[in-house]
């Protein structure tokens, strides 16, 4: 029997079909850092039917799908699976929210959101795949979103 590199989980959330090389950024967006108490497995460049992919599994925690939609910024084809007793009970394809707050830094160095003002960065979604977002403050449009995750 072929041994799985990442074993199935009993309960929790599986984020699948992440763009190869983006798993760490996904953890960053979800604020899953070194101090997390959950069991987290990360697979990078895992072989799949449609080429390589990254995969993240968070055990015993069902992440909020709205929160997970932010992943679409760096991995628009990612899918979310909620697992209960080894069964997929909910499957969800990430979809970018109409407004993205506090995740991406504006690419315009003279945008007021890059100054020491008491505001979070704020973007309006222009296009989903590849993601294109527009700064609410300076209105600059950016496509290189992955590079500017805060």
């Amino acid at each position: 029997m072929k041994k799985l590199k990442i074993t199935p989980i009993k309960n929790g959330t599986v984020i699948d079909h992440i763009t190869p090389g983006s798993a760490i950024k996904v953890l960053h967006i979800l604020k899953i850092h070194e101090k997390t108490s959950y069991v987290v497995s990360v697979g990078m460049n895992v072989k799949s039917k449609i080429g390589k992919k990254d995969i993240v599994k968070v055990e015993n925690r069902e992440l909020d799908t709205k929160e997970l939609d932010k992943i679409a910024l760096i991995s628009p084809k990612a899918t979310i699976n909620i697992i209960r007793d080894y069964e997929v009970v909910k499957k969800h394809k990430v979809k970018l929210p109409a407004e993205i707050v506090g995740i991406v830094k504006c690419s315009n160095p003279t945008c007021i959101s890059n100054s020491k003002e008491p505001v979070q960065s704020r973007f309006i979604l222009v296009k989903e795949d590849p993601p294109c977002i527009k700064c609410y403050y300076c209105e600059r449009e950016s496509e290189d979103v992955a590079e500017r995750i805060i």
Partner: protein, 310 residues
């Protein structure tokens, strides 16, 4: 149409009927702006002018507009005399100004500053220029000038000339002129072309602007020539500026190719792009255009502050 307490951050905050409504009120304001008629409709209001960047026309015309309406003005003309110098955030400065007056006019070197100000102020905020971003009242006075001089915009050939890359005025204007169905021609040095985002916005509004570097050809059949200064302060490096300054010059020779009723506009200040000899021709409209800033800003203050009937 309800303008009461409305923020005006970008020309895009205004619909075409709203723009026309402002233009119509501005027409009624002209005799008051000239001091021929007098009014005190805003005598209970205070305007705060927060100018973090130098300005001559915009600041003075806002102050004149408020004074002509019987209101009062407080504010500063450069940031070195304010708490910003001590490291105060813009948000805090705005909160303070908000409590001292009824309406805020702000010019700031950073893009998005006016939008941020509107978030922190309860009073209405008018953007008087945010870096390379928007300058909606300049755009309104430009539209007012074209509409009053040419009676219409739809189908008119309007040439925008100069720094189309960094010039905030031309970005807003290209959008607004597209809203009114103008026939747009962009003339600029190769490295100062109109950004593609602006061109796409024009296209979305059904206007297909043409781009050229040939001013002589573009000026033939033109109804309006809108000239802009190559702005040294917006260039990331001096070398790039030196390469393009003086590329175009509007002079009497060039005007031989123009229609008799061509009007030449410029947001001012001009440096070398229009020969002073042009000032004496009937084409030159830039000083009248600068005056138009007063009735247009009067109309805006009057509408936003809900002034009594004139």
């Amino acid at each position: 149409m309800d303008f009461l307490n409305k923020d005006v951050i970008s020309i895009k905050d205004l619909s075409k009927p709203e723009i026309l409504s402002i233009v119509n009120v501005a027409k009624k304001m002209v005799p008051y702006a000239k001091g021929v008629k007098h009014t005190n409709v805003l005598n209970k209001n205070i305007l705060s002018t927060l100018f973090f960047e130098p300005s001559t026309r915009t600041r003075l015309s806002f102050e004149s507009a408020m004074n002509r309406l019987g209101g009062r003005v407080i504010g500063f003309a450069e940031p070195s005399s304010t708490s910003q110098k001590k490291g105060e955030s813009l948000a805090d400065t705005i909160r303070m100004a908000d409590s001292y007056g009824d309406i805020i006019v702000i010019r700031h070197p950073q893009e998005g500053a006016a939008r941020l100000s509107a978030e922190f102020a309860e009073s209405p905020v008018i953007n008087a220029g945010d870096g390379a971003g928007h300058h909606p009242t300049q755009c309104l006075l430009d539209l007012f000038t074209i509409i009053t001089e040419k009676k219409k915009i739809k189908g008119d050939k309007i040439v925008l000339l100069g720094d189309l890359k960094y010039g905030r005025t031309v970005h807003s204007l290209a959008y607004a002129l597209s809203l009114f169905g103008a026939n747009l021609v962009f003339v600029s040095p190769e490295n100062l072309k109109m950004p593609k985002e602006v061109i796409n916005e024009c296209k979305k509004l059904g206007v297909e602007p043409s781009n050229t570097t040939n001013l002589e050809r573009a000026i033939k059949d033109a109804d309006v020539l809108y000239v802009t200064r190559i702005q040294k302060e917006r260039f990331p490096d001096a070398e790039e500026y030196n390469q393009v300054v003086g590329t175009y010059k509007v002079d009497l020779n060039l005007l031989k190719h123009a229609k008799e009723d061509l009007i030449i506009m410029h947001p001012l200040p001009r440096v070398v792009e229009i020969d002073p000899a042009v000032d004496r021709t009937p084409h030159a409209l830039y000083f009248k255009q600068a005056f138009n800033g007063v009735p247009v800003r009067m109309a805006l203050l009057y509408l936003i502050l809900g002034g009594k009937k004139l």
